[in-house]
């Protein structure tokens, strides 16, 4: 879709602009139409839910009111947020330490660290689910926040280390020395020079890790069994229709929209950073 317009850019400005407009529009439509569909579903009432219309004929908040009426969904939302935030925080802290070492220090075992995190990044989670379940139930972690935080943190560590070390290699560390030559204390040099340089990378990594944790489904359905730790993607399976066999399509759609909101907010606010974060690793790798 993009090939044509870029060739004769200089001669046919107007056509080129139209071409880009179409290309952009195509991309935006591509990206958003399944999202729109689930939004549309979430605003349909039961009578029109199965009409297949792309735009609801009548709009209703009933599905949203429905899921917020019981603790089924709200508990899951609290769990999702809490678990993802804690796992992200811990993963970013540990990841920052390791990434700093990888990016800046010479030490034996660096290859081992990289090898181990690569191994973990590619390990099929399904292989770990049953042993983790066994271990967690012995340790009493099954169906607790910690029981999900631990695997999330572990599986996002490679991502965190990888992205952060790419960012850290970009930081002009010499500035710190320069600041100290200018009479700054080590703390000042860190606070005024290094922290501001490192913060965007750390923050970006945090977003990526959060998205990763927010997304998980397999661990969430396997390592929880009550509302005490069940996250939203797993809780969707517990929604009920008005009788045993009826599908709660409207509620599922509404819940799906709710957990998409944070993602959309992140994307809108931090588009530049997320792109930078995702691309940093690829180039430097």
């Amino acid at each position: 879709m993009s090939a044509r317009p870029s060739t004769r850019l200089s001669t046919r400005q107007a056509r080129s602009l139209t071409g880009w407009g179409i290309a952009n529009l195509a991309v935006v439509l591509y990206a958003l139409f399944p999202v729109w569909w689930i939004v549309a579903l979430s605003f349909k009432d039961p009578a029109t839910l199965s009409d297949g219309d792309f735009v609801p004929r009548t709009w209703t908040w009933a599905n949203y009111r429905g899921i917020f009426r019981t603790s089924e969904f709200t508990r899951a939302l609290v769990n999702s947020i809490g678990i993802a935030v804690i796992a992200t925080t811990v993963a970013v802290v540990l990841g920052t330490m390791a990434a700093y070492a990888v990016a800046r220090l010479r030490f034996p075992g660096k290859r081992l660290l990289i090898g181990v995190s690569l191994l973990i990044a590619m390990f099929p989670p399904i292989s770990l689910v049953s042993p983790l379940f066994d271990i967690e139930r012995v340790l009493g972690l099954f169906d607790t926040w910690a029981g999900l935080i631990i695997p999330y943190m572990t599986f996002s560590l490679p991502l965190a280390i990888y992205t952060l070390s790419a960012f850290f290699r970009e930081i002009p560390w010499d500035l710190e020395k320069a600041a100290k030559v200018d009479g700054a204390t080590p703390w000042q040099a860190f606070r005024l020079v290094i922290a501001p340089l490192a913060a965007p990378g750390v923050f970006t990594t945090g977003i990526l890790v959060f998205i990763f944790c927010w997304n998980d489904f397999l661990f969430a359905i396997s390592l929880t069994s009550t509302t005490s730790a069940r996250t939203v993607p797993a809780a969707i399976a517990f929604f009920t229709g008005s009788s045993q066999f009826e599908q709660p399509t409207g509620s599922i759609a509404a819940a799906a929209v709710i957990i998409t909101i944070p993602i959309v907010v992140f994307v809108l606010l931090f588009q530049r950073r997320i792109v930078a974060g995702l691309t940093a690793g690829a180039v430097k790798g």
Binding site: M1, S2, T7, L17, G21, A23, N24, V27, V28, A31, V35, W37, G52, V85, T88, G95, T96, M97, Y100, V102, L105, R106, F107, G109, R111, L113, I114, S117, L118, I120, A121, M122, P124, I126, S127, L128, V129, S130, P131, I161, K180, F190, I194, A198, F203, I207, F217, S222, V232, A256, I263, V264, V267, I274, V275, T279, A280, A282, V283, G285
Partner: protein, 316 residues
């Protein structure tokens, strides 16, 4: 929530920084110690959470072990592997998985490249495009899968309505596999595109312009100049996505549940572990999946010389 994190971790940097330029002897030793110290927590966590489970999965895979009758568990050597490898279900699932992986990664590469070019060259609206593209990347897979499922269900879905009357694509093997691929491609092409975008940014503008002056058309420039220069980025993107696609689970779980022979190896493992409660067989499937994934990674690194992600930092 996240902004609070930077302060603490970078404390490590402060402690070390002044000593960094020191000579090889004392400084190097301190640097070493600090390096190990800083990595230790991450390594310990990763090992603690994965090493034991991996070992345990291997151990279980050598036993006849039914979750319902733990007392009857006994050692069976490699019998579970024999059972899996002689079962048509395993080969069926492996075939489906390989197909889904190959097709979706190939389509993603082409589409991702196009998307990357749009994002790279767009004259206007670049921010909008990038923002839009990040939505599929960030959206919860299960949510997207539900959206596709409802869209393709006859009666309720707008996409099913576009098909000839009476088709129910999710109920037949090949159409269903195609829709799984579609869902997978939709969700992960942006990621591929962003990785490729990074590679694109590395292509020097002058080289491309020089080729243009020499009269190379767009196709030629792409084939002869841009793609060769992007090779490392392409290989990394392919490696990431291949490993990821091979482990496909969420999309299939929601879209078809693996019925009508659309299950991937991960679905097969899940069903044997959690529905049949057969920990021995299920673990054997898991270990075999891991073997496949390791093999794929090895092939990429050895054959195509993909810089193993993370292996690069030390070399360059």
């Amino acid at each position: 929530m996240t902004p609070v994190t930077p302060a603490t971790p970078t404390a490590g940097a402060r402690a070390d920084a002044p000593r960094r330029p020191a000579g090889p002897s004392r400084g190097a030793r301190q640097e070493r110690r600090l390096g190990l110290l800083l990595c230790a927590p991450a390594v310990l966590v990763m090992l603690a959470v994965t090493a034991y489970p991996i070992g345990y999965a291997v151990y279980l895979s050598l036993q006849r072990y039914d979750l319902r009758f733990p007392a009857q568990a006994h050692w069976v050597g490699l019998a579970n592997y024999g059972a899996v490898l002689t079962s048509t279900y395993w080969w069926q699932a492996l075939g489906v998985t390989v197909l889904i992986t190959a097709v979706s990664v190939a389509v993603e590469l082409v589409l991702g490249l196009a998307l990357a070019l749009v994002m790279h060259r767009a004259v206007f609206g670049r921010g909008t495009v990038r923002t839009a593209v990040l939505v599929p990347y960030g959206i919860v897979t299960v949510v997207a899968a539900y959206s596709w499922q409802y869209a393709w269900t006859p009666g309720t879905g707008y996409l099913a309505a576009l098909l000839p009357e009476g088709s129910a694509p999710l109920t037949e093997q090949w159409p269903a596999v195609a829709l799984i691929v579609l869902a997978e491609v939709w969700k992960t092409t942006p990621f591929m595109a962003l990785l490729l975008l990074a590679g694109l940014a590395l292509v020097p503008e002058e080289t491309v312009r020089a080729a243009m002056v020499d009269g190379a058309g767009f196709g030629q420039r792409l084939r002869l100049v841009i793609l060769p220069l992007m090779k490392p980025a392409i290989l990394v993107a392919l490696l990431f996505r291949t490993l990821d696609a091979f482990r496909i689970f969420d999309n299939i779980y929601v879209l078809t549940g693996g019925s009508n022979d659309t299950g991937s190896v991960s679905i097969l493992g899940y069903d044997n572990l959690f529905t049949a409660l057969n920990l021995g067989i299920g673990s054997a499937v898991s270990v075999l999946i891991f073997g496949c994934v390791a093999l794929i990674a090895l092939v990429f690194v050895k054959l195509f010389g993909a810089a193993a992600p993370g292996a690069g930092p030390e070399r360059r």
